[in-house]
Amino acid sequence: MQEIIEKINELFENGTVNRVLAWKTGEFDYERTPAVFTKEDGLDGFSYDSFCAANLAKYLILETKKEGKIAILAKPCDTYNLNLLIKEHRIDREKVFILGVPCRCKIDVEKIRAKGIKGIKSIKEEGDTLIIDTIYGEKTCPRQEAIQDKCLACQGRTHVVFDEKIEGGEPANVEKIDRMAEVEKLEAMTPQERFDFWRSELSKCIRCNACRNVCPACTCTTCVFDNPASGVSSKANTDTFEENMFHIIRAFHVAGRCTDCGECSRVCPQHIPLHLLNRKFIKEINELYGTYQSGEDAQSKGPLTNFTQEDAEPSIVYTKGRV
């Protein structure tokens, strides 16, 4: 972290940027809030560690409209979203200094809580173990078991866009998962089982819109679901249809653009596995139109704004080996 602070101060001093978008400590040992630090106010409360899971890319849309150049701390996965925002002309590349920071996979406090560990006072990392000091005594938890789901599925990516990169520390000893395994598991089910699975998950939705608002690919100024003239705006799921519709459309709108950053599932207060909807699209796109990773570059045409004359017909959906 020291190296990052030195770098930011250097950027402040040589006038490259006048502010930096990063994370700030909170009330709890594990709390990190996205924050903008200015040259004048300094880096009071600045932090970069295993709890900085939030993707900061989306904040740049507003920030780059302001005066002067801003630096952003970007984890490898965040840089994919930066590329997408640059490609879609949502941010002004000239007004951003991208400082790549290393990532050892982030920790999800909710996973620690789910283990029945209550009253967390502090969390220390010692190698592959977390030492958790609680009101009810000291507890331990293997680091692997508290890793954010989105990090488990991250395929050890590297920074794809940056102005400068800070190489860092020891690599994380984290066992990754096959990100399509869960999708395949669902595909192997019968339609009724799949229907029941999504019903039980989506019926928990409280329509807080956190998944949409946090998504760095969801950048419309007015969402169709907030537009009373659209005929589909709704503040609550008054019917099961609305639960399905909102999530199909949300996922569809980012199909071919979603970088699989996993923010939607991270912020869901009901822990609905929303990434499984996005990944289904990614999987279909990869299988039908060739492997595509959104955000890998800032130029290529997305799969849904592109075509070939030989594309599969929609009827291919009926021929897939699932009944």
Binding site: E31, R113, I120, S200, R207, C208, N213, A236, T238
Partner: protein, 344 residues
């Protein structure tokens, strides 16, 4: 005081559900939520907070108000089915029970919200005293005793035993009906409950937010708080989602909308969130143009407007749901601390 062994708690629940529908925290796709009891339900009685608060049972996220049908030039009005389900709500924590009292001051004062009033009338609230508070809890700041919740009946769990005591007439009447599955507790056992309550109170004193100072959060300092320059920084990261308002046990704002079913109009109301951009949207425009104003509204309402209109009663109960669930870890405690520091 009465008691029942935890291992036989399903006998108690089955007796209750024989009389009325029983709602209690059950697991739904991995989350603890209030749901109807069935012998197969996976109970989450040791969970401190359900994701959504129990206000849902009295003030549902969406409910039908009235239906209109048109035939030629005649419009007929159809009222929804009467709200007559008698139910029991089990496992309500002290903070949520206080939350219901705050909703009462809003919905039961003139003009009475008849939909809410009917559910309040039909429901019996059985509270569960807390034994293992979380670091996010700060109910004591609002004068709530987590070991003595305000319900019709209060239960305490000590070891393998559930202790039961009726607190209101409604509660006593209901206790008579299920007495068959409960036993009298001895004086020693009552003492063990009291001892546990004392130790829980000690833990609560040590919680990180226990010393939260709300001095200066009242009508007298309204403009000072409203005009604070801190709001800009506090609201900067806010996503404008409705998580905090929808998990809150005291947020009570709603919207009324019409849905065209193709053969009539269904008028319903649903929770609304002051964090949403269209919350204050009117024909003439939107007075809260940025997230700063929307963010400020929520906390000003909880900590300043509500107490200044209701004899100093804050409309926060310290349940800690918004603290735990905010996607960007911004919460009422941070706001109170930032603004409180300023006035010092």
């Amino acid at each position: 005081m009465l008691k029942c062994s935890i291992s036989e708690i399903n006998n108690l629940f089955s007796a209750i559900s024989g009389l009325r529908t029983l709602y209690l925290p059950v697991e739904k796709a991995g989350q603890a939520l209030y749901g109807a009891w069935t012998p197969q339900a996976r109970l989450c009685l040791d969970k401190l907070n359900t994701v959504k608060s129990p206000k849902d049972l009295f003030f549902p996220q969406s409910e039908d108000l009235v239906r209109f049908q048109r035939e030629g030039k005649k419009i007929s009005i159809e009222m929804p089915d009467a709200i007559d389900e008698k139910f029991v709500l089990f496992g309500v924590r002290a903070c949520d029970a206080k939350g219901l009292q705050i909703l009462d001051t809003v919905f039961l004062s003139d003009p009475v919200d008849t939909y809410y009033a009917a559910r309040r009338e039909n429901g019996i609230v059985i509270c569960a005293a807390c034994s293992e508070p979380e670091e996010t809890c700060f109910c004591n700041v609002f004068g709530i005793d987590a070991t003595e919740p305000a319900g019709d009946i209060v239960t305490w769990t000590v070891g393998d035993t559930l202790y039961w005591e009726a607190k209101t007439e409604k509660g006593a009447e209901f206790t008579e009906k299920v007495k068959g599955v409960l036993e009298e507790a001895s004086a020693e056992e009552e003492a063990s409950v009291a001892a546990q309550n004392e130790s829980v109170k000690e833990i609560i004193k040590q919680l990180p937010f226990a010393d939260l100072n709300l001095e200066g959060f009242d009508g007298d300092h309204l403009l000072e708080k409203f005009n604070s320059p801190k709001w800009a920084e506090l609201s900067k990261a806010c996503l404008g989602c409705g998580t905090c308002t929808f998990v809150c046990p005291t947020c009570q704002c709603y919207d009324i909308r019409d849905y065209d079913t193709g053969h009539g109009i269904q008028r319903f109301r649903c929770w609304d969130s002051c964090m949403y951009s269209d919350f204050t949207k009117m024909a003439g425009g939107n007075p809260r143009k940025t997230q700063l104003e929307r963010f400020r509204q929520r906390f000003m309402h909880k900590l300043v407007y509500f107490p200044s209109n209701n004899d100093g009663e804050y409309s926060c109960v310290g349940c800690g749901r918004c603290v735990a669930k905010c996607p960007i870890s911004m919460n009422i405690v941070k706001v109170a601390r930032a603004l409180g520091e300023e006035s010092k």
